[in-house]
């Protein structure tokens, strides 16, 4: 009997799998048991060739491999190495492999290939109490991100078995020549993701929008921008991730684990430190946004934007079902997907940024003289954005086209770094204040807290009270203004919002009532 360990991923949850191999004294064949999917079943063919070409051929008898627990569905090619090690141990070619977790795919030439999802797999195995890992070289940086993991990375099967005491004479130790490892489709070499985010100095004018962006970043508020084409909505949204503080160790690991399911992360870029930015196209399907796929569902754009920014440009053009599907993660910070092969829960605590034209033709800005849309068309346009979704968007801002004078103004503009410093301070203040309530951002504040422990003196909320009394502000809108007011105060370094802060907050959501 030979045994080796591998990890099966169901979403982000990993289960340590015991791979058993037994050799029967009968005609050569290879039987793989334990709910393998198509890619995993093909391991039989890959493994025989890989072992042969590494100079350590598999037993010329019947090899039976069982993946325990057999009832858990297993998918993908990451089991290859564990299967071949178990088979070789059963044949007595390598010493005991027990206690080591193997995660790699094999090429026919015996090369070890990187697989996706190494980070969550290693995390799960560490949690289950295993410490030693063997992965393909390109996966090494990613696997080593996990504290406490003793990881070895190899280029070929022969190198692995040499370290497990196989007879070194016959081994083909040289890593086979061939295209660089990046040739595999699973291996995108994720380097582009970490370039410096665009800077705020490039934004001309737009004082109000800049302020809104700063407040959104400081309080974690969701943001909606309405403005004509060319007013810089996308430009502004792209600069929001840069204003957010770098991810903490724990957050970075969470985010990297999700992205690891999508692509192999290598080198110094292995850990994602910048808040991610996702901008799906408005033709995107529900599955691509919230996650899905056959068998065990994979994460979508909303989960890839976890701890970062999800930007929906032309928001009213999105399918209504897609938009409404976002309500669950906005509420709970998590997406739970049920499919036949299993249930996967992916975190999705993102900051939502919506952009929309003032009307379908986009010309209704200013006086809107040239707008060709019928009132019905305009109503339908915004009707796609359901009330419950907009309810969670604290800042609803009108963005106007930049005037020539502002565009050519060469005066100094604040850079992303300058603003980010203020954002960081405001966030720290908010965190301290909200700790007793178990919250982090002002955006998470509920009406009960706002009107209870954090109640403001009536003199400071007089403006709001009047607006509500006149019927121009709903109870829900009242709370949203208060949330924003607290963030404004944090940015100003005030212990609590004054009447001016409340007034400013009120202007930041005027569009909301008109929509």
């Amino acid at each position: 009997m030979g045994r080796a360990l591998a990890v099966a991923l169901v979403g982000l949850n990993g289960h340590v799998i015991e791979v058993e191999a037994d050799i029967g004294q009968t005609l050569p064949s290879f039987v793989l048991l334990g709910l393998p999917d198509a890619a995993l079943s093909e391991a039989r063919e890959r493994i025989r060739s890989a072992a042969q070409n590494s100079g350590i051929p598999l037993s010329r008898r019947k090899i039976t491999v069982n993946l325990v627990p057999a009832s858990l569905p297993k998918k993908g090619s990451g089991f290859d190495l564990a299967i071949v090690m178990a088979a070789l141990e059963a044949a007595g070619d390598v010493r005991r492999t027990g206690g080591t977790v193997f995660i790699a795919e094999l090429g026919l030439d015996g090369r070890l290939r990187a697989v996706r999802g190494v980070l969550p797999a290693v995390l799960a195995a560490i949690k289950a109490g295993w410490k030693e890992f063997v992965v393909a070289e390109p996966n090494l940086a990613e696997a080593e991100l996990v504290a406490g993991a003793k990881v070895r990375g190899y280029g070929s099967l022969a190198q692995v078995v040499a370290d497990f005491d196989a007879d070194p004479q016959d081994l083909v130790l040289a890593v086979p020549d061939g295209p660089p490892a990046a040739a595999g489709s699973d291996d995108d070499g994720a380097s582009a993701g970490e370039q410096a985010p665009p800077d705020l100095t490039e934004v001309a004018g737009q004082a109000e929008a800049r302020l809104a962006l700063e407040i959104a970043a400081a309080g974690g508020h969701h943001l909606m921008m309405v403005g004509p084409p060319g007013s810089g909505k996308t430009m502004l949204a792209e600069r929001l991730p840069g204003l957010l503080p770098a991810l903490s160790d724990e957050e970075a690991l969470e985010v990297t684990a999700i992205h690891s399911l999508d692509q192999v992360r290598r080198g110094s870029n292995a850990l994602i430190r910048r808040p991610p930015y996702e901008r799906p196209h408005h033709s995107a399907s529900t599955a691509s946004i919230i996650g899905g796929g056959t068998g065990i569902p994979r994460p979508g754009a909303a989960s890839r934007a976890h701890r970062g920014v999800l930007f929906l440009d032309e928001a009213p053009e999105f399918d209504k079902r897609v938009l409404d599907a976002l309500r669950q993660p906005l509420e709970s910070g998590e997406l739970v997907l049920h499919r036949s092969a299993g249930t996967a829960a992916y975190p999705a605590r993102f900051q939502l940024v919506l952009a929309a034209n003032p009307c379908p033709c986009g010309k209704a800005a200013g006086k809107g003289i040239s707008c060709e849309c019928t009132p019905m068309a305009r109503r339908r346009y915004f009707g796609r954005l359901s009330g419950p979704l907009l309810d969670r968007v604290d800042i609803q801002l009108q963005v106007n086209r930049v005037q020539l004078a502002q565009l050519s103004d060469a005066g100094p503009r604040e850079s992303t770094d300058q603003v980010a410093v203020r954002v960081k301070l405001a966030r720290d203040t908010a965190r301290e204040r909200l700790r007793p309530f178990g919250l982090v951002h002002n955006a998470d504040l509920t009406g009960r807290i706002l009107r209870g422990p954090l109640r403001l003196p009536p003199a400071d909320t007089a403006l709001l009270d009047r607006a509500m009394g006149q019927g121009s502000l709903s109870a829900r809108g009242y709370d949203r203004v208060l949330r924003l007011a607290w963030t404004v105060a944090d940015l100003q370094g005030r212990p609590r919002p004054c009447a001016d802060d409340v007034g400013l907050a009120l202007t930041l959501r005027q569009r909301g009532e008109g929509l």
Binding site: Q25, T26, L27, P28, P57, R60, R61
Partner: protein, 118 residues
């Protein structure tokens, strides 16, 4: 005779010698009938042994034993009965063995004998 058949024949001779060494008495070889061919028929004590021999020059195209398919093994069972009827042999016990031989023509042949494969 074609080269592959010559190789096959010499492989069968090697296999027969090997089995005799092991105390298995070979009583017939290359028995043919319309349903197919049996490479070797032998007696291991009172047990009738039908032997399928596969010979190759190298393992470059895989192990010779990999070429013994399930269909061939089923056919051997039928052939065993046909052989026994023709030779008026009463089958007490029947066993099917496979022998894989690598003969590269330079070194001594390597022989892989599997008992009771079907």
């Amino acid at each position: 005779m074609r080269a592959k058949d010559t190789l096959g024949r010499s492989g069968e001779r090697v296999a027969a010698d090997y089995l005799e060494d092991k105390g298995i008495r070979v009583i017939d070889s290359n028995w043919r009938c319309p349903s197919g061919e049996i490479d070797l028929v032998a007696l291991d004590g009172s047990e009738l042994v039908i032997v399928e021999v596969k010979t190759r020059q190298s393992r470059r195209y895989g192990d010779p034993l990999e070429a013994v398919t399930a269909a061939k093994l089923r056919r051997l069972r039928t052939l065993a009965v046909l052989w026994a009827r023709e030779h008026r042999h009463v089958i007490g016990a029947l066993r099917i063995d496979a022998v894989g031989i690598i003969m590269d023509g330079r070194s001594a042949p390597s022989i892989d004998h599997l008992k009771g494969v079907a």
